[in-house]
């Protein structure tokens, strides 16, 4: 049996790496990828807790399933916006889209 701490530490590291990506990257698509990494950490957490602690072992699994679904939907939605912005401005970098102050 692998200790649950292993999974939790892994998910924490994934979350931190994803957060680094969000802050350091400029391309909207790469930021989106970093958000996906953060959400992967979240899903690991939910499943680890579901497998190890929840006697029902169930709500966490469903939660993880829906997290994956929502993450995929979010990518679709955000990429639509990215494409539109690229058409209008010829850039997909968030800091070149600067007609609004950050």
């Amino acid at each position: 049996m692998i200790p649950i701490e292993n999974f939790l530490v892994l998910s924490a590291l994934l979350f931190a790496i994803g957060f680094y990506g969000v802050l350091a990257r400029r391309s909207a698509i790469l930021i989106l990828m970093s958000v996906e990494i953060m959400l992967a950490g979240v899903a690991i957490n939910f499943i680890a807790f579901a497998s190890y602690l929840d006697h029902d072992a169930f709500s966490g699994l469903v939660f993880a399933l829906f997290v994956i679904t929502v993450a995929a939907a979010e990518v679709g939605l955000a990429l639509g916006v990215v494409l539109r912005l690229f058409r209008e401005r010829r850039t997909a970098n968030v800091d070149e889209a600067n007609s609004l102050k950050w």
Binding site: A28, M38, E74, K101
Partner: protein, 490 residues
């Protein structure tokens, strides 16, 4: 709950009827819009249908006044839910009626726009009605997704796509934060059902305190983003400025109220047993939000950005009530939310009609409005004074109730900060009002009138702002009932 198919759950789908009606109306609108050439529908048909569906759903939800029922441990329908059903449905109706001319001129994809407004209303209602973290989280995403799209729908405005991109990216990060926090809280409590979570937290032996604390911080951060509390507010001014004005109005009304409905459900229910762990976080957030929101609002020149910071400041007052959470403060927060919604919508409807006529959105462009359209100037003045908390208007009554409840919850120092912040806010609201009354109109000086539906909505809102200020008892009583239901559900 251990066996697979043997447990008795309550599946009365009738409880979900109002939202089903709203969602079906949304689908009907999408359908009508797609086939509008074949059906020869006029351009007013879509908003009419949307309003009809919403009013039907609103009438339906009155069936559950003073009733309490639960759907399959996922959704509860009680006075709290009914309160927010009426609030959200009312807001969407007002936004649609007050802005359909604007939408025709300045918004792409009308069918999708109305459908999104309706679907986001469903999400907002379920944020208030959820009894399970999963339902609540998905409702949050329904509301956020619709708003991401709605922000991007402004026609011929380069700012719109950019605002949507920033909103969607930051929103994704905030969702990830919220989710990580929820996963930790799930790990600590072993359940996602509110009642079971509360029981687990009451019986907690303290062995997972650090994880719980981290979970609370992350959840509050994620929710703070959705409610645009400082320091999670960076998206707010951009999204407000880039969005079509009706969406800005909707963002400042439904999106905020729904987040506070969720905060009330969570922090008065499952997380109430660990109140001492989060009260200080909420009060810190409240102070930061009030101070920064009010100080930055002083420097704005664009009306939408100005209203964005003013609404951030208002969130600070509401967070005070969350910090001092209890039956009385919850009730006061509901009163204040009601008053804030009415007031804010009055201001925004005024701004929408101003933009319809002039196409401008700078504060300086309001110069001389009292001469060219005294009625609209009156509406805006009443709304802004009410936001500042002047006596005899809704804002004074609700803010008074709020501050009083927070003082009684032993947070006198928070109220002192709040009163100082309110005083600062009076200054910048007065600056805007000064533009309308003390300056001569620039350029076009002819008198103009707003549309009949404009008179209808602004008139109703103006009346509500004044009446609530003088006679707020009904709102107070309704909010009290809702807060009682909230704490009874636990």
């Amino acid at each position: 709950m251990t066996d697979v198919l043997g447990n008795a759950l309550n599946f009365r789908y009738a409880l979900l009827l109002p939202e089903i009606v709203i969602a079906l109306t949304a689908v009907a609108i999408l359908f009508l819009d797609a086939f509008k050439a074949e059906f020869k529908v006029g351009y007013r048909a879509l908003p009419l249908l949307a309003v009809a569906g919403l009013l039907g759903a609103g009438a339906l939800s009155l069936v559950w006044v003073n009733e309490t029922d639960e759907f399959s441990r996922l959704i509860t329908v009680d006075n709290f839910t009914t309160f927010f059903r009426m609030l959200f449905i009312g807001t969407t109706v007002i936004v649609i009626v007050g802005s359909h001319e604007y939408i025709e001129k300045h918004v792409n994809h009308h069918g999708e726009f109305y459908a999104l407004l309706l679907l986001s209303t469903v999400g907002a209602i379920y944020m208030a009605a959820a009894r399970d973290l999963l339902t609540a989280y998905l409702s949050v995403e329904v509301l956020s997704f619709s708003l991401y799209v709605a922000v991007s729908l402004a026609k011929n405005d380069l700012r719109s796509g950019e605002a949507a991109l920033k909103y969607v990216l930051l929103g994704g990060v905030a969702s990830a934060m919220l989710l990580y926090g929820l996963s930790l809280i799930y790990g600590v409590t072993g359940s996602t059902q509110y009642t079971e979570m509360a029981a687990a937290l009451s019986a907690s032996d303290g062995s997972t305190d650090m994880a719980l604390m981290l979970g609370l911080v992350l959840v509050i951060g994620g929710l703070g983003f959705k409610a645009s509390a400082v320091p999670f507010h960076m998206w707010t001014p951009d999204a407000y400025e880039g969005a079509p004005i009706p969406v800005t109005a909707y963002l400042s009304a439904t999106s905020k109220a729904a987040t506070f409905a969720l905060i009330l459900r969570w922090f008065a229910g499952p997380l109430y047993p660990v109140a001492e762990d989060w009260r200080w976080m909420m009060s810190t957030l409240a102070v930061a939000t009030m101070v920064v929101g009010n100080l930055v609002a002083l420097q704005q020149t664009n009306l939408k950005r100005f209203l964005a910071y003013s609404s951030i400041a208002q969130v600070g007052y509401m967070l005070m009530a969350v910090a001092g959470m209890g039956p009385e403060t919850a009730s006061a927060l509901l009163v204040h939310l009601g008053g804030y919604l009415v007031t804010n919508l009055a201001v925004f409807t005024g701004v929408i009609h101003f933009y319809n006529r002039t196409g401008k959105e700078g504060i300086a462009d309001l110069k001389g409005l009292a001469e060219t359209n005294p009625y609209l100037a009156l509406v805006l003045t009443a709304g802004l004074f009410s936001l500042a908390g002047m006596p005899l208007l809704a804002g004074f009554f609700t803010k008074f109730i709020l501050f009083q409840a927070v003082v009684e919850a032993d947070y006198l120092w928070l109220v002192v900060v709040g009163v100082v912040a309110s005083t600062i806010s009076l200054y910048y609201y007065l600056m805007v009002i000064k533009q309308m009354y003390l300056y001569e109109p620039v350029g076009d000086t002819t008198r103009w009138r707003i549309s009949p539906t404009g008179y209808l909505t602004t008139g109703a809102l103006l009346a509500a702002v004044v009446v609530l200020g003088i006679w707020g008892t009904p709102l107070y009583r309704v909010s009290h009932e809702a807060a009682l239901a909230l704490f009874a559900a636990g």
